[in-house]
Amino acid sequence: MLSLPLLKQSIKSNSVMWGSMTGVMTLLCVQFSSLDMTRSLLFTIFYGMMTTILPGIYVLVTANKLLASQVDRGSMAYVLSTPTKRSSVTFTQAFYLVNSLVAMFGIQTLAHLLVNRVKPLALGELAYSSLAGELTSKMILQVNLSALMVCIALAAVCFMFSGVFNSTKYSIGMSGAFIGVSILANMLAMFGNLGVEGLKNFKYLTLCSFYDYQSVLAGSTDWISKLIFPAAIALAAFAAGRLVFARKDLPL
């Protein structure tokens, strides 16, 4: 099912984008969690926005490159004119996409764990919060798991568009609109949470609402049940993209 040469090709041709996004995200995380000036905003800004915006941009560009762009440009002919089946192409590319996100969050989480060990954060320091106690390693892992699951769902929807369309302009167009709305609505909904009543309903417009760092910090288990929805959406979207890609005509 997994094609090793294709996986190698995907890692190589997406390494720059993956590397820079992982680098920026990790640096921001280290900065927000270590500098006194920004620590109070670690959750509002970094975990509230950056952990969806940066991976969002990454999956938008990468999902398109994994299928649609290669069909559009014609280079997919070189993958499919080998014993590699279409189903193993979609499997391998989805495998790459999910695992590159896992690695991205893994590195960032590791950096945060290290910083938090050296310089632990008291939850009371956080802005807009009335929590007590310290930020534990377990919490960091849980927050990142919650964010990762939502990003995988975002990735899966972009991957579906990439599998459905033969041309980059439609794939990027639909994925871009989807990611744009998801991120923007998430930001507006966050302002809603911080007190602007009129913006609260934006949370119904975005998958990012299933990412619930507040529940983790408060010690409730809401975030766990919220993992189910993005996981189901991800599975459905990957399956849809895979099905269409396996059956459609390819201009190669």
């Binding site: 294709l6 190698k8 090709q9 490159k65 014609g74 280079s75 499919l80 089946k85 190669l252």
Partner: protein, 303 residues
Amino acid sequence: MRDIIKAESLTKDYGSGRGVFDLSFSVRQGEVFGLVGTNGSGKTTTLRQLMGFIRPDSGSCSIFDSDCTRSSGSFMSRVGYVPGEIDFPDMGSGTSFLKLRAEYLGIKDSRYIGELVDMFRLDSDAPLKRMSKGMKQKTALVAAFMSRPDVLLLDEPSTGLDPLMRDTLTELILKEKKRGAAVLMSSHIFKELDDTADRVLFIEDGKKLDLIETGTLTAGLPKAYRVGFKSGRDIDRFLLTTKMAVTHTNRDALHIDISVQENGLEQLFGELSGFDIRYLRERPFTLEGYYTDVIEKGGKRSA
């Protein structure tokens, strides 16, 4: 020799007359089969269906008796494909692309790849993005031939090649044919088909126009001769008396073209005996001549 590539009533309708309609043909082991037609006549659509990239609306095609649409994966390791539009994966240099391709195909021994690279004088260390059209084409050719495939599907393989490289390609195709490969190639360049193809299928608007066997082509057909005269007066005098079929007269170059039936050569010499001629030469039969004479003038249009 058994049929390797088979197409039966292949039909793919893109609307407004574009596509391929009811196309049937087969390519035997050790045969070079040419596909000729104007731009948009359906050559690429045919090849894409054989590769399993496009699903036919009706009809079917198979390679090694495996259906191209349903089980193309089963024969891909034995097929070499040069796409009409070439773009490579984002892999840096030509060498790393060829190495990756060898991995895809499970080729361990890279000696033959090296031979091909030398044969085409390919500077494979150059970055793929900066390659010229000809360089890309050569890279694509090496990629298609590197596994010594039993089937070659070549979509205008000589695009962008200089004449010298075209000859190299012709030699390579003949070598593969001798080895027993079934080769299906589309082309605009009649010369390379002349030199390689056993049979040529002419298509227009996706429909079969004519299928000719190049080997037996010249046998029963009239031959074309060109006669150069010393003066225009001689030409006039000849035209008055001749019973031969004169197809073309050029008074500036002082020559005429004559179509001579199989045993009419004696008559031609007889008629020319009273003239002082500069030269007499047979014009070699070419597919190009066939194409312009027979197809474009609509003389043999039988869709």
